[in-house]
Assembly symmetry: C2
Homo-oligomer: 319 residues x 2
């Protein structure tokens, strides 16, 4: 399939086109980047919910429970699990996970994991692209699950409208271990496995920390207790998500996020041109001579401008 038919197919809701497009993106390919950028104009419909937290807190079970509850409410759900350490590809883990539940053959749920074996920053970019594809494909809600709390994960959560930070009592990942940066990005906190010893302590410490954070926001961060494996607290959690979405709309914050996403795409397009210039000039045999010119003392900024001018001319002719 070529770019145009994938583009049309994804907008039309074709699952095969979507799967193919997501693979292009996971590969970090040029065509995947172009596809994501072009589809951006068809996004803005979905609610994008991020779910993050340390390993072992039960994020996957929680995502699963959320998806099932949302389906009951006639929401279509796209799930994106971002896991750079995953040895699987093509959504195998999630696929298996959901299949164990009752949502087999449910056309309203689509799952995909992203491993993105690319360079630094590649994962975050791939996640953004994948979110755009799922949004353009028409899902009402997109659940983005990230493992751990590295910088890449925090970056990815920036694309979400509502961020759930998930904790569990007595996992060694107690409050003190919450990485700086995670507290700030959480819009809703979830204490999962709340039937365990120490759940109340976790809630109390969290309340203490949140009261200290001192950011004067009109949004009061709620703490929801869940037992995702038994579907306890899931309705309350969705209620909290809904309230946060209302808050975002009332304060025009969704528009801000859309603006940032568009700006992000413009910056990426500029970066992509730099990469394209090099590969085009290598192809034409000009790159090596340019490097040699710099070795002979030519000014590198001037040389870069010359290459860019040349590339822009060629690329205009190609259109």
């Amino acid at each position: 399939m070529d770019l145009n038919s994938l583009y049309e197919g994804i907008i039309a809701g074709n699952r095969r086109a979507l799967a193919r497009g997501l693979s292009w993106i996971d590969e970090g390919s040029v065509r995947g980047k172009e596809l994501a950028h072009r589809l951006f104009a068809h996004t803005g419909h979905a609610r994008i919910i991020g779910i993050t937290g340390a390993p072992g807190v039960g994020k996957s079970t929680l995502v699963n429970a959320l998806a099932l509850e949302l389906r009951k409410r006639q929401n279509t759900v796209g799930i994106l699990a971002v896991d750079p350490s995953s040895p699987y590809s093509g959504g195998a883990i999630l696929g298996d996970r959901i299949r164990m539940q009752e949502s087999v053959d449910d056309k309203g749920v689509y799952m995909r994991s992203l491993a993105s074996r690319g360079h630094v920053g590649g994962l975050s970019r791939a996640a953004f692209g994948a979110i755009n594809l799922l949004d353009a494909a028409g899902f009402d809600t997109i659940l983005v699950e990230t493992v751990g709390a590295g910088q890449a994960e925090v970056d990815i959560m920036r694309y979400a409208q509502t961020v759930l930070v998930v904790l569990a009592p007595g996992l060694g990942d107690d409050i003190q271990a919450i990485k700086a940066g995670i507290l700030e990005i959480g819009n809703v906190f979830v204490v999962n496995k709340s039937d365990r010893d120490g759940a109340e302590l976790t809630v109390r410490s969290l309340k203490g920390l949140l009261s200290l954070s001192g950011e004067a926001s009109p949004w009061t961060v709620p703490i929801i207790k869940t037992q995702a494996d038994r579907f306890v607290g899931i309705k309350e959690l969705i209620e909290a998500i809904d309230q946060h979405q209302v808050y975002l709309r009332e304060h025009n914050l969704l528009d801000n996020l859309r603006y940032q996403q568009a700006e992000h795409i413009l910056k990426q397009s500029l970066e992509d041109i730099m990469v394209a210039v090099q590969s085009e000039m290598e192809h034409q045999g000009i790159w090596r001579q340019s490097v040699l010119d710099i070795l002979s003392g030519e000014d590198s900024t001037r040389k870069a401008k010359t290459l860019l001018t040349q590339w822009l001319k060629t690329s205009a002719q190609g259109e």
Copy 2:
């Protein structure tokens, strides 16, 4: 001082100009980047020796000993200590360190530490710029010391012609702990503190590892035992460095390195233009409208090309 007078001053060997230029680079400023690029045409004279290894192996003492021995041989020596965690700036640590030795007031030694409080990749870039400045300033030998073995340190070692990997016995940083990637970049291995228990074991394990590495290079990586605090083994180490430099010359590998450096600079110049485009367009109030156009469905690649074309026109007029 402006860019031109720093440029002239550094080539003329003026120490104040060099110190100022290095500060520009450590700040990650645009003028620092431009200075480093322009001075590249005046580099290629110095031998660039990298020294890396885990904390506690005695790298600083070793660098100190090397500098003193090189001075005895009438080499001028520039020392660059790259330490992102350093709370000092302006070479305070190294300055104190060397001053303790007999090289007080020696005009043939210059030391500087680099902390580079910039974004990811900023440290590596600053180190490359600083090496260019020291080279253009005319030092015969540049010793680049990096702490630890993170990706940034490995990147920085790519700019060195000869890389010394330093170990010490019984530091918990035994052979098994050598990070992948470090073994590959070492041209000379140094077992420092070789009077300690376990030194022979360290040497033997190292030999075993090196024999396994299986890379068919005509260069046989030597293992030199030193006690840097007592100046034991320093002459032998310099002998090994000299031999590696002869090897590099005989196999035209120094030319390869120069080519890579020039290519690196050309890529950096392209990246710098992208950043300049954004800030210039923000300044002109065009950036925001461009982002809004993308939100309205305009193609981001086309928009990026338009901005670039516009920027190139303005920048040509400014010349």
